[in-house]
C-alpha cells in the first residue's frame, strides 16, 4: 500500500505531504523560538537599565559576523544542491551538499571557540541573565544546526545515492524539504545576531 501524494502533488491543495508537513513543523518551530524571543524581551525589560547592553558588549561581533556570512552561504549552496538534482546532475548535488555541510561545520567550530573563550574568562550561563539567555538561545540553535547536519549527512552518504537511483523524484523532494528547514535555521540566526550581539 502506498500513501497517496507522497511524491506527486494533490491537485486541489497543490502540495505533497512532506512539503505541507515541513511547513507545519516550521510553524511549531517559530512558536518555540518565538517563546524564547518573547522571554528575551520580557527579561530585558525586567533587567536593570544597561545590564543587557553591558553583558552583550562582551560578545565578539567579528566572529558572529563571519558566522552570519557562513550560514548565508550555506543557504545558497543548499539551494544549488536542490537545483542540481532538478537538473539531474547528482555529482554537482554532491559537491554543493558537501559545501553546505562544510559551512555548517565552520559555523559550529567558530561557535565552539566563542563558547570556550567565554568559559576561559569565567563567563557561564549563570553569570548574568543575558548570558543565560545567550547560551540558551545559541545552544538550542546549535542543536538545530547539528540536527540538520545529521539529516544532510545521511543524504550525502551512499544512502542518498541509493535512493536517488531508485526514486529520484522522492529524493529531490526530500532535499527540498531539508532545504526549507535549513533556511529556517539560517533565518533564526539572522534574528539572533542583532538581538544578542548588536543591541
Amino acid at each position: 500500500m502506498q500513501i497517496p501524494y507522497t511524491i506527486e502533488e494533490r491537485p486541489d491543495t497543490g502540495l505533497n505531504n512532506s512539503k505541507l508537513g515541513i511547513w507545519v513543523f516550521l510553524a511549531s518551530e517559530i512558536m518555540l523560538f518565538g517563546g524564547l524571543f518573547s522571554a528575551y524581551v520580557f527579561l530585558r525589560m525586567a533587567a536593570p537599565a544597561g545590564d543587557f547592553a553591558y553583558w552583550g558588549s562582551k560578545l565578539s561581533i567579528p566572529m558572529a559576523t563571519v558566522n552570519t556570512l557562513v550560514l548565508i552561504s550555506s543557504s545558497v549552496t543548499m539551494i544549488m544542491s536542490w537545483v542540481s538534482l532538478k537538473m539531474k546532475d547528482f555529482e554537482k548535488y554532491k559537491m554543493y551538499m558537501g559545501l553546505t555541510l562544510l559551512c555548517a561545520s565552520i559555523f559550529l567550530v567558530i561557535k565552539y571557540f566563542e563558547y570556550t573563550g567565554k568559559f576561559h574568562h569565567g563567563i557561564y550561563p549563570s553569570s548574568s541573565t543575558f548570558m543565560g539567555i545567550y547560551f540558551t538561545l545559541t545552544g538550542l540553535h546549535g542543536l538545530h544546526i547539528i540536527g540538520g547536519m545529521i539529516v544532510m549527512g545521511y543524504f550525502w552518504l551512499p544512502a542518498g545515492y541509493k535512493m536517488w537511483t531508485s526514486e529520484p523524484e522522492h529524493f529531490t523532494n526530500r532535499i527540498e524539504v531539508v532545504g526549507l528547514y535549513w533556511h529556517f535555521v539560517d533565518l533564526v540566526w539572522i534574528f539572533l545576531f542583532p538581538i544578542l550581539y548588536l543591541l
Binding site: I3, P4, N17, S28, M31, G35, A46, G132, T136
Partner: protein, 569 residues
C-alpha cells in the same frame, strides 16, 4: 516506503513496532487507559488522607513508609503527578493519540496517516516520556512536587523537578509529531468527494486540536528549557533579585521573573484545556447524530464555533493570573476575551441540545455517556464564568471551587465523552459489540459518584477552602463548617473506582465473547462504517472510497432506510 501488505509480519512488527495507524491507535489507547487508572489511584490515596487525616492508608500504606501514613512531601508528589499523568499521559493521548489515530484516517477514507513512521515515533516518544515520569517516583529524591503547573521559584528549588522537565520534553515532542501528522493527513488524504464541509464533526474537532497542539506546545517546551537551565546551570530566568529561600538569600544573579514562567506556561496550558475538550465534543457529536437518527443540528455552526474557539483559546491565557498583580489593563483585556470565548462553547452545547429535540432517541450505552456529557460540561463551563471575571476570581482563586470547575469539564465531561467513544467504536475495532447490561452498570454509578466527588467541591470552595492543603483545611476556622464533606467526597471516589470494574470486565469479556457484528452495527452514515470490522491492515478499505454525501444524512425523506451512508450515491 515498503509498507507492502503482501509480506508476512512477525509479532513484533505487527503489534509492537507497527506503522499501521490502527495498531498505533490501540497502543495509545491501552497505554493511556492504564495511565488514567494509575493517576486515579494516586488521587484515591490523597482522598484517603483528606477524609481520614493521619490514619494509615489501607492496601498501599506499606509503600508510603513505616507508619503507612501519607506524609506531606508525598502528598505534594502525588498531587503534582496526578495532574501531570491525567492530562499529559492519560486524556490527551487517549483523546488525540488513540481516537484521532484510529478514527480520523477511517472517517476521511484514507489508507493510513500521511507519515506512518512518524506516527510510530510519536507513540514511542510518548512511551519514553511516560516511563521517565513513572521512574521519577523511584528516584532517590522522588517525583516532582511543585504541582502540575510547576510554578517557580518553588519548582526551581524542589526536588524531582528535573525528571519531570525531561519527561515533558519527550511528551511535547510526541504530541508535535502526532499533531503535524494529523494536519497533513486531514488536508491531503481526504478521499475523492470528501470536501471540507462533508468532514464529520469529529474530524473537524481533531483538526482544530492538532493546530492547538502544534502552536501552543512549543512555548512550553521553551519554558521547560529555561527552567531546566535554572535548575541545572544555575541561571535565574525565573528568580528575582534578592530572593530569600529557607532563611537565606539565594545565590544567583537574579533579575528574572516568576511571572515569565506563568505566561509561557499558560500560553500552552489554556489551549490545552481545549485540547482536552474538543475531541470529546467531536465524539459526542457523532454519537448524538447516530442515536437521534437525525442530522446534527447546525453542523456549520458547530464547525465555525470550534474554529473560532481554537483561535480564541490563544488569547485568554492570563485569566489564570488575575492575582499576580499584572495590572488592570491586562486583566480587563483577558476578562473580555474570556467572556467572548464562552460564546462558541455555548453555541456548541446548544446545537447538541437542539439536536435532541423531536428525536426518537436510542438509549444505548454510548448515547447515555454522550447525554451525560452535556449537563456535566454545562456545569463545568458555567462555573468557569465567575473565575473568568477578575472581581469574583479574587475570592475563588486557588480554592476547591477551581478544582470542582475544571474537573467537571474534564472528568464527567471529557472522560464521559471518551467512554462514549470507546463503546461506540469498539465494534469497529474488534468486530464485536460491548455488553449493554454491563455498560449500563458502568454508566449509572459512574454518573452518580462523579457528581458525589465534585459537587461538594463547589461548597467547600465558596467557603474559601484552599486547594493543595495536605489536611484538607483542618487548621482553618473558615473551613470547619464544610469539612464534613471530605469524607463524603472520598467515599464517592472509592465507589467511582468500584464502578469502573464492570467496564474493565466488559472490555475483556466483549473482546472474546461479545455479540459478533457486521461492519455497520449502529446504522451510521460516516465513512469508517463502510470498512470491515476490524478494518483491513495497512489499507483500511477493500477498494477505493468515494464520498457523495454529507456526514449526517439520517432519515432522509424518501430513502429506503433511516440512514444514507456517505459512500452511497
Amino acid at each position: 516506503m515498503s509498507n507492502d501488505s503482501h509480506h508476512k509480519e512477525n509479532f513484533l512488527q505487527k503489534y509492537i513496532f507497527s506503522v499501521d495507524h490502527k495498531i498505533i491507535g490501540l497502543q495509545y489507547g491501552i497505554t493511556s487507559l492504564l495511565f488514567l487508572l494509575f493517576g486515579f489511584c494516586l488521587m484515591m490515596v490523597m482522598r484517603w488522607q483528606l477524609a481520614y487525616p493521619e490514619t494509615p492508608v489501607p492496601i498501599v500504606g506499606g509503600l508510603l513508609g513505616e507508619t503507612g501514613i501519607l506524609m506531606p512531601e508525598i502528598y505534594n508528589m502525588l498531587g503534582a503527578m496526578h495532574g501531570t499523568i491525567m492530562i499529559f499521559l492519560g486524556i490527551v493521548p487517549l483523546a488525540v493519540g488513540a481516537f484521532g489515530n484510529y478514527i480520523v484516517p477511517l472517517q476521511i477514507g484514507a489508507p493510513d496517516m500521511a507519515f506512518p513512521k512518524l506516527n510510530a515515533a510519536s507513540y514511542w516518544s510518548y512511551f519514553v516520556g511516560g516511563v521517565i515520569m513513572l521512574t521519577s517516583f523511584f528516584m532517590p529524591e522522588g517525583a516532582a512536587r511543585s504541582g502540575w503547573t510547576s510554578y517557580p521559584p518553588l519548582s526551581i528549588f524542589e526536588t524531582g523537578q528535573t525528571m519531570w522537565l525531561i519527561g515533558m520534553v519527550f511528551l511535547i515532542t510526541s504530541s508535535l509529531l502526532g499533531s503535524m501528522n494529523f494536519i497533513v493527513t486531514i488536508v491531503q488524504l481526504r478521499a475523492p468527494g470528501m470536501t471540507w464541509f462533508k468532514l464529520p464533526f469529529f474530524v473537524w474537532a481533531q483538526f482544530v486540536t492538532a493546530f492547538l497542539l502544534v502552536l501552543a506546545f512549543p512555548p512550553l517546551e521553551a519554558a521547560a528549557f529555561l527552567q531546566l537551565m535554572d535548575r541545572v546551570a544555575s541561571t535565574s530566568f525565573f528568580l528575582p533579585s534578592g530572593l530569600v529561600y529557607s532563611g537565606a538569600t539565594v545565590d544567583v544573579y537574579g533579575s528574572g521573573s516568576p511571572l515569565l514562567w506563568q505566561h509561557l506556561f499558560w500560553f500552552l496550558a489554556h489551549p490545552e484545556v481545549y485540547v482536552l475538550i474538543l475531541p470529546a465534543m467531536g465524539i459526542v457529536g457523532e454519537v448524538i447524530a447516530n442515536n437521534t437518527r437525525k442530522p446534527l443540528w447546525g453542523y456549520k455552526t458547530l464547525v465555525y464555533s470550534i474554529v473560532f474557539l481554537g483561535f480564541m483559546s490563544f488569547i485568554v491565557w492570563a485569566h489564570h493570573m488575575f492575582l499576580t498583580g499584572m495590572g488592570q489593563a491586562m486583566s480587563a483585556f483577558f476578562q473580555t476575551t474570556t467572556m467572548i470565548i464562552s460564546i462558541p462553547s455555548v453555541a456548541i452545547l446548544t446545537a447538541f441540545f437542539i439536536s435532541l429535540w423531536g428525536a426518537s432517541i436510542r438509549f444505548t450505552t454510548p448515547m447515555l455517556f454522550a447525554l451525560a456529557f452535556l449537563p456535566m460540561f454545562g456545569i463545568g463551563g458555567l462555573t468557569g464564568l465567575p473565575l473568568g471575571v477578575g472581581a469574583s476570581d479574587i475570592h475563588l482563586h486557588d480554592t476547591y471551587y477551581v478544582i470542582g470547575h475544571f474537573h467537571y469539564v474534564v472528568a464527567p465531561g471529557t472522560i464521559f465523552g471518551l467512554f462514549a467513544g470507546i463503546y461506540y467504536w469498539f465494534p469497529k475495532m474488534t468486530g464485536r459489540k460491548m455488553s449493554e447490561a454491563l455498560g449500563k452498570l458502568h454508566f449509572w454509578p459512574s454518573f452518580i459518584f462523579m457528581n458525589g466527588i465534585f459537587m461538594p467541591m463547589f461548597i467547600q470552595g465558596l467557603a474559601g477552602v484552599s486547594r493543595r492543603l495536605y489536611d484538607g483545611g483542618q487548621l482553618y476556622a473558615h473551613a470547619q463548617d464544610v469539612l464534613q464533606w471530605n469524607e463524603f467526597m472520598s467515599i464517592s471516589a472509592f465507589c467511582l473506582a468500584a464502578a469502573q470494574i464492570p467496564f474493565i470486565i466488559n472490555v475483556f469479556v466483549s473482546m472474546f465473547n461479545g455479540e459478533k457484528v457486521d461492519r455497520n452495527p449502529w446504522g451510521a452514515t460516516t465513512v469508517e462504517w463502510s470498512a470491515p470490522s476490524p478494518p483491513v491492515p495497512h489499507a483500511n478499505f477493500e477498494g477505493d472510497v468515494e464520498v457523495y454525501r454529507g456526514p449526517y444524512e439520517y432519515s432522509v425523506p424518501g430513502a429506503e432506510k433511516d440512514f444514507s451512508p456517505q459512500t452511497e450515491k
